[in-house]
């Protein structure tokens, strides 16, 4: 029994998030994935920013498999419909509306696939119909297992697609999740269940404002986290003061450096171009591991 537990390797699942957009989530996530891979550990990079994934620009994966992702929306057989209107009454999003007699309108984009209308229909007139919301692409970027989702243009079921991306997480891999910006539903879906969250910010009033929102989110979700200050050296020191006053760890300060920006703008991994930064990212992983070990120890006690 004990041996069985020891044999299980549960590697860390780390989400890279931020309140503010454009702070450097993808830069941190892709470089961290490379740094972990260089230690010889098995690592996955999962781009959960399915509305605008861009990790592939830096990791340049060889895509081996594409899977279409569908969600179920109602399809009404008007010949069977008795016009009772129960489907419209149960729908919380007005995605299905009973108009007159047996005329029922469905608005697929508003449907959340709860299945309520299917269940309450006494005439069995409603069947689930798959709606393609996007694709998941799986491949290899060097030693890194690469997964990302691409939401179809015009579709709004972002959390559903993120959930599918996260199904590819494997226990014995360190997973780095690139999270969409902000603090709304897609972010909640992406960070749900991870072991650790890195909140990337920049030392400006904008960065601080959105960092506070993001801290509110991870605290609400009870997730361990630390802050990464990107473009360190610009702006002011209010982010650092805030972290100190709130007792929030700063896992990394990545200096503002034109050469980093140049590497980024040509789709390169910073560590490949500027070897002096590889230490920053391997230290970052060590930092996360030590914090996580402390948390786990506390939980055990």
């Amino acid at each position: 029994m004990f041996n069985h537990i020891l044999a299980q390797v549960n590697e860390m699942k780390i989400a890279v998030a931020s309140g503010k957009g454009g702070t450097g989530k993808t830069t941190i996530a892709t470089n961290l994935a490379c740094a972990v891979a260089r230690t010889g550990r098995k690592v996955q990079y999962l781009d959960c920013d399915v509305e605008e994934p861009n990790g592939h620009i830096f990791l340049k994966p060889d895509i081996k498999k594409t899977q279409a992702v569908t969600v179920d929306v109602p399809e009404v057989d008007l010949k069977k419909c008795t016009g009772c209107g129960k489907c419209g009454e149960i729908c919380q999003y007005s995605a299905i509306v009973h108009l007159k007699e047996n005329n029922v309108l469905t608005l697929e984009q508003l449907c959340h696939s709860c299945g309520g209308c299917l269940r309450v229909c006494p005439a069995d007139a409603i069947k689930p119909k798959p709606l393609n919301i996007g694709d998941i692409e799986i491949g290899k970027a060097g030693e890194i297992n690469f997964v990302h989702g691409r939401l179809r243009i015009g579709h709004v079921r972002t959390p559903s697609l993120i959930k599918e991306v996260k199904r590819h997480i494997e226990n014995d891999y360190v997973a780095i999740l690139d999270v969409p910006p902000g603090i709304s539903c897609p972010v909640v879906e992406a960070v749900k269940g991870v072991d650790y969250v890195l909140l990337v910010t920049e030392p400006t009033p904008f960065g601080l404002n959105d960092l506070k929102l993001a801290v509110g989110l991870v605290r609400e979700m009870n997730l361990p986290f630390a802050v990464i200050i990107n473009r360190y050296g610009i702006g002011d020191d209010e982010v650092e003061k805030y972290c100190v006053s709130e007792n929030i760890g700063i896992a990394l300060r990545l200096p503002d450096n034109r050469r980093i920006a140049e590497a980024y703008s040509s789709g390169q991994i910073i560590m490949d171009v500027l070897s002096e930064y590889s230490e920053h990212f391997s230290e970052l992983y060590v930092y996360i591991k030590s914090v996580k070990a402390r948390i786990d120890d506390k939980r055990r006690l």
């Binding site: 999003y93 007005s94 995605a95 509306v97 009973h98 108009l99 309108l105 608005l107 508003l110």
Partner: protein, 122 residues
Amino acid sequence: MKIAVTSTGKTMDSQVDPRFGRAACFIIIETETMDFSVIDNENVAAAGGAGISSAKAVIDAGVQAVLTGNCGPNAERTLSAANIKLYTGLTGTVAEAVELFKSGGLTEAAGPNVQSHFGTGK
């Protein structure tokens, strides 16, 4: 003909509410007799789908036409699916809007005239 006018108040002298989905109320008028009744709009503060639910409310009231200020795509689609005529761009009092309609001075809307969530102040 039975018609609905979006209204900020409960009388014929009230101003036309420029929003459809989140109108304060709907005044249902029988144009021949000018008899009217008022439906309070439960969707004023709805989280989403206000336009569709409001369309459903006027459909259930049995109207054949809707007069309002602005109407978004989901509400327009719902009204159109129920073959209800839609007239947008109305201002002034409900009574004035009805007079304009009766005089034949209105042109039916070809589609929605605003985007979703237009009336939420966002």
